[in-house]
């Protein structure tokens, strides 16, 4: 914990903030697209410290928020099958699908359990041989390796009742999709935990081809402020490079073992993102060799998803085009108790964060 206290030292934060104010002469718009960054920025009240000419928007960085309703409906469909047990990470159970959320299905008798690790889901399958355990694997590259490890473990244990519904998505392609679509964002605060796995190298095309500087940031307040300072300095200098602020956590070329594991179990596929439509090569699905563990096999029909409720602007929020308070439903019809869209449900969603930490 010494790390934490050092990186949260108020004097250090003050120094970096001063340097940031000094360095920031032009008007710049930056985007962070990691849910944990969104929360860290709000939790420490960092927005109140930024210079006025620095605008920070949140992007598609919350895995729960970017999962389109159609994918959620697939998970909900599985929860209705005989002898099925759904195991997934926390926030996903609250997101509303076309009819209801997994939590509501649970209230109506479905067996839906929150797990803290993919191995817990494997252990569940071992403990309940008469049930079919569907692990709804959500998350970016941060959690994909542990899903891969779980599949390998299930295979080693000879389990026949463990299945993975992969909703994993890849981060660099979504940045490119955003840029291709057109955005006024001028630089990116890149996700620290994703990069702990994939490294910083995958963001090079964003810097070199699209001319947007990228800085991979850690999660302590001084990390984020330092990353912003590094971005501002690049912009003021007219540079566009990939830099790593989170040096203590991110190897430039990523974690070889984790990447190997991911590559062994997953193959890249096109995937749909809320607010962005289909993005090439942005999803992960199980390879043929692991098809006995693929939960998609159980989805034997076309699941028709209802369109998003009228007025829901999660897509616009996720692209960073509007801030939550610009959505007409924010705080009125859409609240954490009664969320309309996923940005309000997930504890790391932009809307939930703005609501909780104060966008009034």
């Amino acid at each position: 914990m010494k790390f934490a206290s050092e990186f949260r030292d108020p004097a250090l934060v003050r120094t970096i903030t001063l340097n940031l104010r000094k360095a920031c002469r032009g008007r710049w718009k930056l985007m962070e697209f990691c849910g944990t960054h969104t929360v860290a920025i709000f939790r420490y009240g960092l927005r109140s410290l930024l210079p006025e000419n620095l605008i920070l928007v949140s992007g598609p960085g919350c895995p729960v928020c970017v999962t389109p309703k159609a994918e959620l409906d697939r998970a909900i469909y599985l929860s209705g099958l005989d002898s099925s047990v759904i195991a997934t990470y926390g926030d996903l159970v609250k997101v509303p699908g076309s009819e209801m959320s997994l939590a509501e299905k649970r209230a109506r008798g479905a067996d839906v359990r929150v797990v803290y690790s993919s191995y817990d889901a494997v252990a569940l399958a071992e403990r309940l041989p008469d049930k079919r355990v569907f692990f709804v694997a959500i998350g970016f590259e941060t959690t994909a390796p542990s899903t891969a490890a779980a599949v390998i473990r299930a295979e080693a244990l000879g389990l026949r009742n463990f299945f993975v519904l992969s909703l994993h998505k890849r981060t660099p392609p979504v940045l490119e999709a955003l840029l291709k679509r057109g955005t006024s964002v001028e630089g990116f605060v890149c996700p620290g935990h994703v990069s702990a796995i994939i490294g910083a190298a995958p963001f090079e095309p964003v810097a070199s081809h699209w001319r947007r500087p990228c800085v991979v940031s850690g999660f302590e307040p001084s990390d984020v402020l330092q990353a912003l300072l590094m971005l501002v300095r690049q912009l003021e200098d007219g540079r566009s490079e990939v830099e790593v602020e989170y040096a203590r956590g991110v190897p430039y070329h990523g974690n070889r073992n984790a990447l190997k594991l991911m590559d062994q179990v997953f193959t890249v596929t096109a995937s749909e993102w809320r607010g962005l439509g289909e993005v090439e090569a942005s999803g992960l699905r199980l390879r043929e060799a692991f098809s006995p563990f693929d939960a998609s096999a159980f989805i034997d029909r076309d699941i028709v998803s209802l369109p998003d409720p009228p007025g829901c602007r999660c897509g616009d929020v996720l692209r960073g085009d509007i801030s939550p308070s610009e959505c007409a439903l924010f705080r009125k019809n859409c609240t954490p108790e009664n969320p309309v869209g996923p940005c309000m449900v997930s504890s790391e969603g932009s809307c939930a964060t703005h609501y909780l930490y104060g966008d009034r």
Binding site: M1, A4, R8, D9, P10, V13, R14, T17, G35, T36, V39, F42, R43, Y44, G45, L46, R47, S48, L49, P63, V64, Y89, G90, D91, L92, V93, K94, R113, V114, V115, Y116, D120, I138, G139, F140, T142, T143, H193, P221, S222, T335, P336, E337, S346, S347, E348, Y355, L356, Y357, G358, R360
Partner: protein, 335 residues
């Protein structure tokens, strides 16, 4: 006698009688309860009577530092204390699930006895019901309590006033994390124990130096943030909190980091937050620090006239953010 609770134990017949006389009264024994009358008849000092009730459904029923029995007694003693009342007596109602081991019941009753003895508040009556397997989660407890509020004391969540100092009696998050650490599925090692404790002694000490406590509450479910918001809302005032002044044990902070929880929303069971006029703050703080359950007391903030109904946090790194009330459940994050 059987080793487990059976439906017959709640039916009012012979088995019920034996349960009360041979088990319950081993642990709960005083003149009033021994009479076994339909109601306890007490003589109270003249004055305003405080009256409260609470039900306890904590899971697991045995957790580090306590169990549902002690929790229930302390909870009711504290609710009375929070309005400045001196607790006089409590009642204890149990709803037992068929199949509950008798040993567990004994353990809970011993805990009730010990908590009651420490607080100096007798259990003067109660009730026991038994429901079929699956109809309750082992044990549900309800406690009700009465106390007397001394003249001149007027403590209410609507009385906080601009200029008041906000005083917290000790570290936050201990109870919630201790319970969470034992809940199935989340298994992390910790020496943390629940902070469940009776606060009537602490409150009596505070009232000994001042009659002007404006508002006071114990931040249980929903944590400190929820309690502060309730008071801000009801009193129509704003509150500013200094994050660096709020005591948090390192083990609690680490557990919250691990699970993605915000300590301001984690439950406490042996803490209070008091709103006192600025000129009384030092005296109150001083006397609190001299008590067993108040030694970690800290002035954590102030009441202001700005942003009524809203609680603002000056963060430990010098930023500002809003401390909202809790919405929904406390679910750890994904990645």
């Amino acid at each position: 006698m059987d080793q487990v609770i059976r439906l017959s134990h709640g039916s009012g017949g012979e088995a019920s009688r034996r349960l009360v006389e041979e088990i319950v009264h081993t642990y709960l024994d005083n003149d009033v309860i021994r009479r076994l009358d339909d109601s306890a008849v007490l003589v109270l000092e003249p004055g305003r009577i405080a009256f409260t009730t609470d039900s306890y459904v904590v899971d697991p029923i045995f957790f580090p530092g306590g169990d549902i029995g002690g929790l229930a007694v302390n909870g009711t003693v504290n609710d009375l204390s929070m309005v400045g009342a001196s607790p006089v007596a409590i009642t204890l109602s149990l709803i037992l699930e068929e199949g509950l081991p008798l040993a567990s019941l004994r353990r809970i009753l011993e805990s009730v006895r010990a908590a009651s003895a420490e607080a100096g508040v007798p259990v003067v009556g109660g009730d026991t019901k038994v429901v079929g397997k699956g109809s309750a989660d082992l044990v549900f407890v309800n406690t009700s309590g009465i106390g007397v509020v001394p003249a001149g004391v007027d403590i209410s969540s609507s009385n906080a006033s601009p200029g008041d100092v906000v005083i917290l009696s000790g570290s936050i998050g201990d109870h919630g994390i201790a319970v969470l650490s034992k809940r199935q599925g989340i298994d992390f090692e910790t020496d943390l124990v629940s902070d469940t404790a009776p606060l009537n002694g602490l409150v009596a000490a505070m009232l000994g130096v001042t009659n002007s406590i404006h508002a006071m509450r114990d931040p249980t479910r929903g944590g400190l943030a929820s309690t502060l918001n309730e008071i801000a809302e009801r009193s129509g005032v704003g509150i500013v909190v200094e994050e660096s002044a709020v005591p948090v044990r390192p083990a609690v902070a680490e557990a919250c980091e691990l699970l993605g929880l915000d300590v301001f929303y984690v439950a406490n069971e042996g803490k209070l937050v008091a709103f006192v006029p600025a000129e009384e703050a030092n005296a109150v703080l001083g006397v609190m620090r001299g008590t067993r359950y108040g030694e970690g007391s800290s002035a954590i903030g102030r009441v202001v006239g700005d942003h009524p109904g809203m609680v603002v946090l000056n963060t430990s790194v010098g930023g500002r953010r809003i401390l909202s009330p809790l919405s929904g459940e406390l679910l750890p994050r994904i990645c």
